[in-house]
Symmetry: C2
Subunit: 538 residues, 2 copies
């Protein structure tokens, strides 16, 4: 069937199962906006900033495990969306970015909001970048973009669509999308499975490290089965690589998070990294991050991460469910191993009444009161404690980005809530982060999604303070930390002014009450908790 | 003198006369932040978003006509600053962007917030992109960045500084900056001056088109002298290319703004474009933008703009003051030409009492009440009327960006106010724009700069509505415009919550009163004027 390009484009989007189009539009997208007036199969989700459009699309794709679409405007809209596109890339999130660009003649003449090298802006964040060259090619190009985005390892893709081509009115035909879908998962080489199974079978104290990739591909239960079969303890991957839970924190084999000082890491005679990064380094390590002489098995869907920095003794490339099932089949069905006990947890004394709130106490109340909710973490310095304390049973219980792209969580939480309409979703943010994601409050108010925003306001760029302390220079000597103090905004009031009722609290009791109310609310809410600025993170 | 790299870097910055370092820092900039603790010659200006850091630096550079510095953090910070860097580029603003990047080993390993192709992100927006390769090279590289940024045609430059190199502690020497400053202006070829002068002298009805470049290089008075010498009328350049006034709107020769339908454009027998773009196209022109058969003289500092789209009869490449002075010398000292009268202005009837405010009436009150203030325009659809009505006597009386990078004006106004401490500065914004620039309110509150923000809230992406009307499809037929309605936020309350007292008004009398109060205030203020959403711009 021949249709105008804008209609055919929407047909392709619909046929890939993406029924929402997240956008902050401009004049170049008029033909598509116009086509949306009479369509009910693709919903326009308006946002007021491209960062929100991208992070909502990303959040939705993470939980539906399906492609989603962000339609950005011109060069300025694209650049505004880039930092969160980086987040989508790191999460293997199949976000198809359509980019409305100016008419062909205006591009050539370097007219308003054009870029001579648009692809350079985006190519390091996407699996493929292309600008459609003719009207007829638009449906095919967009279809190929979806195909590429969902092919494993999945990830974002970019297609630019010029206004003149989109508006030409020439009838075009859309491809039969079904014939472009295929099972792109791969199973690991049998020899590689054999080699890894031998190492695992021979180990007395193997430690399994559960990576975020397991959650992405729905392999958490497969790891549970393998851990039980092996009698092996499991830790989550290192904090800096962690994006979502690869293993239930309430499982009897769960033993916390990978770090070199962890007793089970020190005792292990084999480390098995599954769908994890080894490692996503934040700073040059002061000590080696792997125990000396302990053999390493590493598996990932994306071979890029294997033997990237540290050599391995066995590697398994492929879909993590297929990898885990192949290992289970190649290993003895039962074991005499016993899971070593969990190391004791040191309890910090509670904040004294009247004293500024310690972030750890706040996190304890938040994770306690919101137990059962899906949590989105976007708090730079409190993120570590949050991740340790959040209850995570499935791969969809906790989300964080390793991109360092502040504000991602505010939009992502909305996309996640759209994708899991039966779950409560809460985002825990820092006050610095908040200022990067504020336009998401407009989307929260407009969609009415009952997301709970918790802002831990320590009035600081605590990460900068921590860096100055690490640097150990004059700042420490004089106890004067430039670039840290960001006190000022009344965040709860800002939220209320956006139409998302906000409340500021400075006691744990008030916090608890607010969170209880938020659980019952049928609309978004925000609670701003004042925490101790003297605590530069955990 | 040998110093640690961070100190030498700050010496170079100071010696180039940049006494402010605009930043939204992260951990990679610790050494520089630490060095700033004890220095008084370079001031840290903290911001809460990279877009604010870049637009403040840009605004300051525009009015001081000197280089300024924005220090951005990692790949995510750089991408957040890109859209306003595009604004700086279009304005030939010598903004030196320093980019703190992760330690060398972490870059190689694709660790946290690294990019394998950082330069690709920025190279189309800067004159030069470089990452320092050694500690010793840092002062030299940054010095060269300043030299390149200020060399005409001026513009932004990017230098990345890795954390390990910056923190190494190895003593380095800083170059003697004075020996790297030189007069980079160029005068036009005498033959070219001769050719242009002949055309001008022979013309009976020449029309001078004053471009933004005249204001940037301080050539407005030279154009006044030439216009008087020639007895020629002057118009500002086309709206889409206009960034600041190249000619006083209160001069007797001023005749409005270039557009093909302007009677003086239609009557001219010679068009002389001076420091203007010909043209910055927004959409493919429905009619030719130049009158047929009329000869064209075009002059610009940047040869890139000359004969880019339209052929010319004479061209003058060089500094616009030198060009104007050369033309003045080559032309007869007096003339018998008379400046044709200004075409009559149609007066729109005033908004009826009680009716929603028409944007034109609001602009009339704003430009009237704030007469004498420097205005920054960042209102997408109301921008046109604002530009026509704003009183512009010098090149520093009105600022706008042709980048389409929303929110630029909110930070730029602060930089402009820093650079002109004796002027009132006011920024006129749209409500869509506002959501892109909100973190600038934090900087307004923190610096206390008495900037007046006027937000014209039509609760719409009116530009999108205009595009749908232009497209003329189903949206028009059904009078249903998707992607337009952004009603919701109480902008004045958001401002107040940031510490910038805000007030919402919906009558011209209240608006007038607020603006009067803002003139006397010694702190920033914001007024939100509700305007008619049915008016999709002029």
């Amino acid at each position: 069937m021949s249709r105008p390009a804008a209609e055919a484009l929407l047909d392709v989007i619909r046929d890939w199962g993406a029924d929402k189009l997240f956008t902050c539009p401009g004049s170049t997208e008029a033909a598509v906006l116009d086509a949306l007036v009479t369509r009910t199969d693709v919903e326009l989700v308006l946002t007021t900033h491209e960062g929100v459009a991208v992070s909502m699309a990303d959040g939705l794709a993470r939980v539906t495990r399906s492609p989603s679409v962000a339609y950005l405007h011109a060069n300025v809209g694209l650049t505004n969306g880039l930092s969160h596109l980086y987040a989508a890339q790191l999460a293997y999130s199949p976000v198809v970015v359509l980019n409305g660009v100016k008419a062909s003649s205006i591009q050539a003449r370097e007219g308003f909001t054009t870029g001579r090298r648009m692809r350079d802006l985006v190519h390091q964040y996407v699996k493929s970048d292309w600008q459609s060259l003719t009207t007829e090619a638009i449906p095919e190009d967009v279809n190929r973009a979806f195909r590429t985005a969902v092919t494993e390892p999945a990830g974002p893709v970019w297609v630019a669509l010029a206004q003149d081509l989109l508006e030409s009115g020439a009838p075009v035909s859309a491809p039969t999308v079904d014939r472009f879908r295929f099972d792109s998962r791969t199973a690991p080489s049998p020899d590689a499975v054999q080699r890894a199974a031998e190492l695992i079978a021979a180990a007395e104290r193997p430690l399994l490290v559960a990576g975020s990739e397991l959650a992405r591909v729905g392999a958490v239960e497969d790891l549970v089965a393998l851990a039980e079969q092996l009698g092996a303890p499991v830790v989550h991957e290192d904090r800096r690589g962690f994006e979502r839970p690869g293993f239930p924190t309430d499982h009897p084999h769960f033993r916390g998070q990978y770090e070199i000082g962890h007793p089970l890491v020190q005792q292990a005679d084999l480390l098995v990294f599954l769908g994890a990064r080894v490692f996503n380094e934040f700073e040059p390590a002061k000590a080696p991050p792997l125990p000396a002489g302990v053999p390493l098995v590493h598996s990932h869907t994306d071979p890029k991460h294997i033997a990237m920095v540290h050599g391995v003794d066995a590697a398994l490339v492929g879909d993590q469910r297929l990898v885990l099932q192949a290992l289970a089949a190649a290993l003895p069905a039962s074991t005499s191993r016993e899971v070593p006990p969990a190391p004791p947890v040191e309890r910090r004394p509670r904040t004294a009444a009247g004293a500024p709130l310690h972030p750890a106490d706040v996190v304890e109340v938040v994770t306690g009161s919101l137990r059962g909710a899906a949590l989105v973490g976007d708090a730079t310095t409190a993120g570590g404690i949050l991740q340790q304390q959040a209850h995570q049973h499935t791969g969809d219980d906790y989300f964080v980005s390793t991109s360092g792209s502040l504000g991602w969580g505010m939009g992502a939480a909305l996309g996640i809530a759209m994708g899991m309409p039966d779950r409560q979703v809460a985002a825990v943010l820092g006050d610095g982060v908040f200022q990067f994601g504020m336009p998401a409050l407009w989307s929260a108010a407009r969609t009415g999604l009952p997301v709970t925003y918790v802002v831990m306001n320590n009035q600081s760029y605590a990460a900068v303070g921590a860096a100055l302390r690490r640097f150990g220079g004059v700042a420490v000597e004089r106890q004067h930390y430039p670039g840290v103090d960001i006190a000022g905004p009344h965040i709860a009031d800002i939220s209320t002014a956006f139409g998302v009722p906000g409340q500021r609290v400075d006691t744990l009791a008030d916090l608890r009450e607010c969170l209880e109310r938020s659980r019952r609310a049928d609309h978004p809410t925000l609670v701003e908790v004042m925490t101790d600025p003297a605590q530069f993170g955990p």
